[in-house]
Symmetry: C2
Subunit: 330 residues, 2 copies
Amino acid sequence: MRKNPLTLLLLAGIFTVFTGMVLYAQDAREPVVRGLFATLPDEAPVPDDNLMTAEKVELGKMLYFEPRLSASGVISCHTCHNLSLGGTDRLPTSLGHNFQTGGRNAPTVLNAAFFNLQFWDGRANGLEAQAQGPIQAGVEMAMPADLAVSTIADIEGYQPYFEAAFPGEENPITFENIAKAIASFERTLITPDDALDQYLRGDESALSDDAKRGMEVVAQVGCLACHNGPMLSLGTLISFRHGNDVGAAKVTGEEADEYLFRIATWRNVSLTAPYFHDGSAATLEDAVRTMASVQLNRTLTDDEVKYIVAFLSSLEGDIPEVTIPELPAD
Amino acid sequence: MRKNPLTLLLLAGIFTVFTGMVLYAQDAREPVVRGLFATLPDEAPVPDDNLMTAEKVELGKMLYFEPRLSASGVISCHTCHNLSLGGTDRLPTSLGHNFQTGGRNAPTVLNAAFFNLQFWDGRANGLEAQAQGPIQAGVEMAMPADLAVSTIADIEGYQPYFEAAFPGEENPITFENIAKAIASFERTLITPDDALDQYLRGDESALSDDAKRGMEVVAQVGCLACHNGPMLSLGTLISFRHGNDVGAAKVTGEEADEYLFRIATWRNVSLTAPYFHDGSAATLEDAVRTMASVQLNRTLTDDEVKYIVAFLSSLEGDIPEVTIPELPAD
């Protein structure tokens, strides 16, 4: 075969394009290769003392939507952790009993099952402990635990559901079991298969070019130091000095805990504006700029922000389809 | 064949039992025969200027669950007309913006599509007019109409849903269209096939004996004068002097309208305690006794109350299964 200059030029061109593609792909996959990303598991971890059963999940769903667990009779878990709104209320800070606010932004319930520390200040370990908080908090549902139990126990229709969820227990309607059932339902609120996970499983086209660049930028800039792993959050507390809220120190009173807040997940983050513990960042752009500035002492370029936001926006997973439960009459 | 006395006695006995059964069945069916009962249609009437489409129903469902239609961002139609709770909030009187109350009990949204007059005082004609009220009411969602429209229009994700629901309209995001879509969704909230309807369709065993007696009692006592037809309510206003609320006169200022309230439906009534426009009757028993006393000047016996309540409790239809809609991000 005769090799004319045009053929050589064509071959050289193809070689250059191919090499460029390989190098680009390597760049984009670099944090992947370093193991900083991981797909979200299909199932959440389950504690030994609260195994999941279909009956417990069903009861938990009822209780999650149960406004009679609040003093007013209108506020349920779902009021602030609304599955229509990415598992949050999309308010800067939540409104509870008598329209009071505790001054914190409602974290999403979606994938919360993958966190050990719960609440912005990490004051609860596990979903069971978390679920007991807002029911009793005066600015949230404002329902004392014993009144919550007697209210539910007085609704006769709940008895068979508790018996099925907690078989063999003589008196299954307890505050602990209410929380256990709610936690079990929450463990079903997993959002797998977002664009990042599709990409990590081998579908290179799942992420846009901008999102792939964003994936590089968050690695280069340093975001991934805290935002990594399946939740794109270590799930631990980190110092974040922003506003007057002293975070974990509010609970412990310890100076060492001042301004410690749980690292927020990036999964579904584009669904859950506004951002931060005080909801002070209205948009993802705001949040990205502020975090880079406050945490990494870095001013991002407009392009960097654009790429990061494109990446963060590709983290919307499959929201589970939830039918509205029928709750027993009084 | 030799007819011995025992055979004759047996035949006489069988005849007596059979006659008794026929007479009893006739008694029980007597109001049925008089046409006072009718099955609930499977579909609600649809106005010519708001035809139902799947797209309109889908959008309407989103807006029904949309808390951003309220000034606070936490109250939606579903807050007070909760499909988990028989289409009501099961409160004596509803809590709205800033936990204010308008002093009236939330009527159920279930089968509301079969009523022309809406609200306890009948001040709106049709679901479209009704849906516009609570969004704007200061004690409910407290959202001025123009602000409701601009809020929804600012959520980009809504645009394609409005275009699909109102094809060909240049500017489909209007307050009227918001109400039209919500009304279309509400027309799907029909609860057919309760025990009465099964009975009316020929299944004699669908109603318990107590319920059948209750059906007779409500005919004898006079309840059916107002509570008849598919909704077991004429759907019109009737004088009901109970408490200080002057009903329709509050709106019209006319003395002739004092204490006029819409006749409540009996469909699903066992799901929607407490009762009356002011929620002052805690139980169905209370409500039945008070209505007989105030409206019919009659003191019911305990047995009569028991039978009526058994009948009213057999009016729980099939609640439609509703999945929670995903609402677009801001």
